[in-house]
Amino acid sequence: MTETSLTDRERLEVYTWMRLTRAFDERMVALWKQGRGVGGTFSQRGHEAISVGAGWALAPDDVVAPMHRDLGTFLVRGITPLRAFASLMGRATGVTGGRDINFHGMGDLSLGIIGFISHLPHSVPVALGAAMSFRYRGEKRAVLSFTGDGASGSGLFHETLNMAALWDAPYVLLVENNQYAYSTPVHEHTKVTDLARRADGYGIPGVSVDGNDVEAVHAAVKMALDRAREGGGPTLIEARTMRMMGHAIHDGAEYVPPAQLAEWAARDPLQLFEERLVATGVSRDDLEGIGRRCEAEVEEAVVWAEGSPWPDPATVTDGVYAP
């Protein structure tokens, strides 16, 4: 599915978010390799079409529960690169004020973002709860929840889809099938690697989409969210892509066959989209200009984050409870 409802201008905007995501990721990876990071982190490479395409499909009042490879969604929804880098660096100015690590807990309800925990996939039922709050109040809003191919082996996947279907919730679950769960290839953690096929067991639509084609992702997610908002119930979407780096920053991913990486590298989501934009008349110079602006924005964020204060240890017990 590559038709799109995006205008030319919107396509450039989407491209910009993807470039920003890529620029952020490349800078992050470089910093961590230099030892300038704090704690571990997760490369986003290869996931840009999913996180941006899906994030872009959200309506302003929708809510989203991104995971550890969804930086693009965080950015599109309004987490600035400044705050994001400060979070990664454990600074007081980060989203969690240094309490949680990398993209974890990067929630901001004013932006319609639900933060996640490590334990997979707990965002999935929590996001359904948000969707049920919309049903409860009769609001025309929908929720998009992300999970991974590995996490889909967890019981919460089943419990949540069963409830979402039963309750006709305005809920879309997007499984990022990036061929691996840490070191384990998808066919070694499940026999049915066509993950959208599970939808039938819940009586809801299941859609499989090319996760490297940002317009295809956008179209599939938008259609599902639109239907959900109109009372049409949940959808399970599988977006197929490839995790192009290790599981986390420390992981060299020697277990990934080079041929598999090469195959997917040839379908890099940014390049794919660039070709398409160029084919429709956008100049490569314009695209490179966007890239440079994104890199500058990222650089500014890094400087700001590294210059940001550490949290004050005297505050360490603050906020365990809501007042």
Partner: protein, 343 residues
């Protein structure tokens, strides 16, 4: 042999204008109903509360008709998932009250409670106002999986509040407070008290603040610190001991987290001898924290070791002679207190 070994009866409670005598379980229902009427963001969810079944203990009987299926949300058998759903609702400003069919099944929702709900406010500042109602405790010949008192797991976990009312009035007042609290609160209600205990309960708004213990009986020789159904065993024991000239303070903790440390220390410092009692198994139970806290902060005042009496460190056995051996009762409390008084 098969009967229920304990008797309760009447808990007293705040007599006066608008106070009526009602059962412990009716007081729970009343708090829920009143809060749902007061605040449209309050809802109940759990297994078998649809079609006006009212749940295994009929606590929400009649609610479906009054509040409709979205506010009385029947769930599939999926504690982990539906507790996560409740967290999501809470994040969006609703106030779900989740019913575990039995407290024993709270372990099925454990991950969602201790990892998601408990940590969210600390991590990114989002409040998770939800209550988990957990019908706990035994003595009812219900076996290892319908008799548990799993409060210690949650008292240890940062970010949760934990309460355990022992009277109808507190059942109402603490549930009201729990629903209005902006944090996840685990509400351990006591099955053996449900229909066996009556007491005065104020009509209309009645809030018992979380974190305040109640001195249920006053005496100078010894302190018994307890909560839940064991309060009534402790009171019965204190009655017997009074006949023997041993006068007991009986402190009902009511809140297990936060613990009313001042009240615990006050009674410990007053009598110098403390027996901590709970139905949950003893080892590393809530009584360990209470005893350790006393041993730390009331050391100078102690005239005897801080003793603990809990359930045995076994699964809760089913057969009456075994469960009776397992479970603290007035006679066991009195025996231990008597020995402590003589120390």
């Amino acid at each position: 042999m098969a009967g229920h070994a304990e008797t309760f009866g009447f808990s007293g409670g705040p007599e006066g204008d608008g106070s009526r005598v009602m059962t412990y379980v009716a007081a729970i229902s009343e708090a829920l109903r009143e809060e749902m009427r007061r605040d449209p963001s309050v809802l109940v969810m759990g297994e078998d509360i649809g079609n006006d079944f009212g749940g295994a203990f009929k606590v929400t009987k009649g609610f479906a008709a009054e509040f409709g299926p979205l506010r009385v949300l029947n769930t599939p058998l999926a504690e982990l998932g539906f507790t996560g759903v409740a967290s999501g609702m809470a994040l969006m400003g609703l106030r779900p009250v989740v019913e575990m069919q039995f407290a024993d099944f709270i372990s099925s929702a454990f991950d969602s409670i201790v990892q998601y709900a408990a940590t969210t406010h600390y991590r990114w500042g989002a409040a998770v106002p939800m209550v988990i109602r957990a019908p706990s405790d035994g003595g009812l010949r219900s076996g290892p999986f319908h008799s548990q008192n799993p409060e210690a797991w949650f008292v240890h976990t940062p970010g949760l509040k934990v309460v355990a009312p022992a009277t109808p009035a507190d059942a109402k007042g603490l549930l009201t407070a729990a629903i209005r609290d902006d944090n996840p609160v685990i509400y351990f209600e006591s099955k053996p008290l449900y229909r066996n205990l009556k007491g005065y309960v104020p009509e209309g708004e009645h809030v018992v603040p979380i974190g305040k213990a109640h001195l249920a009986r006053s005496g100078k020789n010894l302190s018994i610190v307890t909560y839940g159904a064991e309060l009534h065993q402790a009171l019965a024991a204190a009655e017997r001991l009074a006949d023997e000239g041993i006068e007991c303070d009986v402190l009902d903790l009511r809140s297990l987290k936060p613990l009313d440390e001042e009240a615990v220390l006050a009674t410990a410092r007053k009598t110098g001898k403390v027996l901590v009692v709970h139905a949950a198994n003893r080892l590393a139970g809530v009584g360990a924290e209470v005893a350790a806290m006393i041993a730390d902060r009331a050391f100078e005042w102690l005239d005897a070791p801080v003793r603990r009496l809990g359930g045995l460190d076994t699964p809760v056995p089913f057969s009456p002679p075994l469960e009776d051996a397992y479970r603290p009762d007035a006679a066991k409390i009195a025996a231990m207190a008597r020995e402590l008084a003589r120390y």
